[in-house]
Subunit: 213 residues, 4 copies
């Protein structure tokens, strides 16, 4: 691999750029092989650097993992904000939000989501992330309830509906390849469409213009 995966555009903000590159690459590998199954040597090698070099940008593996989650959570929140701002019904808000979430995650980390291994984080960091994840889930639940209320979502157990959707989204990690025929955009929309159709009040046909691969 080329050094730093060619992520060195300008100057002193290089530091931040490189940090982001590390996080992005780490997220990708953590996602696939598991946090504990990934050594910092692995991460470093993919960036064309030495393990020791990483420590200039990240204080520890734990912190690196935490940063990955933070990044993911930032993206999630921002996506939910968008969804709530732009959607009209509960269903629409969910669709817009989650699609954006997936797209952004794939752009940022090359991977649509970070799967959380229990115990991988600890102490305050674990609490922080769990807190934010819970917030995220709470927002989702509320949107489902909103959808039920406004008639866009069928009468359904909220928790099940939410986790079904989240599962579909998260699972993309296991099969999506950025080198494949489909772009982030395509996959995101296709998955969200089917997954939300599961609790859509008046589901019709499935559109899939771009997916005629």
């Amino acid at each position: 691999m080329s050094r730093w995966a060619n992520a060195l555009p300008n100057r002193e903000e290089q530091l931040e750029t490189k940090r982001k590159a590390i996080i992005r690459e780490a997220a990708r590998v953590f996602s696939r092989r598991g946090v504990h199954g990934t050594s910092l040597d692995d991460v470093a090698e993919r960036l064309g650097v030495t393990k020791a070099a990483l420590y200039r940008y990240v204080p520890s593996k734990q912190d690196l993992l935490y940063a990955c989650h933070e990044e993911a959570m930032d993206i999630a929140r921002e996506a939910m904000d968008r969804g709530e701002a732009e959607g009209r019904t509960g269903l629409e808000k969910i669709r817009i939000g989650m699609a954006r979430y997936m797209r952004e995650m794939i752009d940022a980390m090359g991977v649509p989501v970070l799967i959380i291994e229990e115990n991988a984080l600890s102490g305050q960091q674990a609490k922080d992330i769990m807190q934010r994840r819970d917030d995220f889930e709470r927002r989702m639940r509320r949107l489902v309830e909103e959808g039920i209320a406004d008639g866009s979502i069928v009468q359904v157990n909220v928790k099940i509906a939410m986790f079904t959707l989240l599962g579909a989204v998260h699972w993309v990690t296991k099969w999506y390849s950025p080198d494949g025929a489909w772009g982030a955009e395509d996959v995101a929309e296709a998955v969200i469409e089917i997954a939300t159709r599961g609790f859509e009040a008046r589901p019709g046909k499935v559109l899939q213009a771009r997916l005629n691969k």
Copy 2:
């Protein structure tokens, strides 16, 4: 924890019973914390035994993981067989098969599925499991196609539909607790209903008798 989690009913078949108990417990922990995030000490402790004791029943951690996957795959195949035998349309076959799969997995391993960390298995074992997983996925795809053909499933991208369903199912690992209010049966049916509704040809209301928690 009590010794062997009280899994010692009779006598010489104790060996096999204990082996199964180990596999079951390992699967559960591997699933939550990741294979590499789980030490054999962890597994042993949950069984109220020493790490060394495990080695009377399992030749290595690798083999233990392999055994977990084998067990899972056996269950998966058997469930698919059932689905194909008992269902009438493609959709029905999928529903019956996947629901059974979830129930059996929860019974056997306390966990609805095993998530595969890349690189966790290696060599022939990795090939074996991938092979069987591919077989499993191929069968699912065919059922989706069958469903489209017989009109029970809407026109949809087969791969996306399948992975959406699988994601919903697999994700249950992350939130299901056997100690909670819902039994395996309830969760399995609820998840499958919503997840398959995503590509059901004529989706109606959602039934959820048992889920009025």
Copy 3:
């Protein structure tokens, strides 16, 4: 292998018989693979028994090793006694003694000598054995000196002569096989003849009647 290598002739002295069988077998394996390279499972397996069974006859691996050395040292002393009693010159005493030593060792342990790994024994046991080994070597030195004095041995550095002989004898472990064409008797005599010829005062031709294999 048959149970206890068929070493169960009479009755309550069986205990001692079995103990000897264990020592014998252990000595053999220790000799070849090294003490630390040999597990009690290895020893037990060769006797057709379980590891745990050994503990009825031997209190620990350390003690087993010690017993091996004791046995060897008993044989060595007895052989030296014989040599000193029967030989006329220093050279003759050495020849008789060492040849007997080799024969008896092979009979008793199936192996002509025990090679001592440093640190394998410890504490008092180590001291004991070292003491006896030193006694043995001291006796050998005195016989060499006696041989020089009585003219049967050439003027030679005593230590070197002794260790050369001992080396030749001990090395037999590495190549002698009781299943081969030569008996213990043959090998013992042939080796001793050549090895002592190295410091014999008036060495002549080499006799090797039995070795025309």
Copy 4:
């Protein structure tokens, strides 16, 4: 002990120097305590380093052992080459070769020989080393035969003669101390002289100028 036993003369070749130091030290300890009786901690401690540090220079304990044997075999071959080139009779060739072998081994590893515990190496490595050891012994046998043919060696069983000599040489491990009064040179010559005198055709007195300790 001082770091790396003061074996760090220059710079980038330090890596090779250190590797050699490890091999040398390992050979020494393996030789005395047996491979299985020696932990890498032992080896590391003698070099004033941590066990983990060794892994920068040697991939595994097995490979370390293999490297020891390789080194020894290289020295053996080179010594035999010398003996065959410089000696005139079979006997002379053996004397020159073996004396050189002992000297070089003591210089390189501080120990005149490596004793092979059965099963210590495995697979291809075991085959390799056995092969080379057999080659070595074959060469020795041929020299003995040559000596018999050219009249420098008495009529003798070739195998016994060879193993007697090898035993004398190998045994030096057990009693030679580099810190003692004799140098490698002295010991080598003294041992070889007496050991080969065992099958010399016309053995005379024993010279031992330097050994009047």
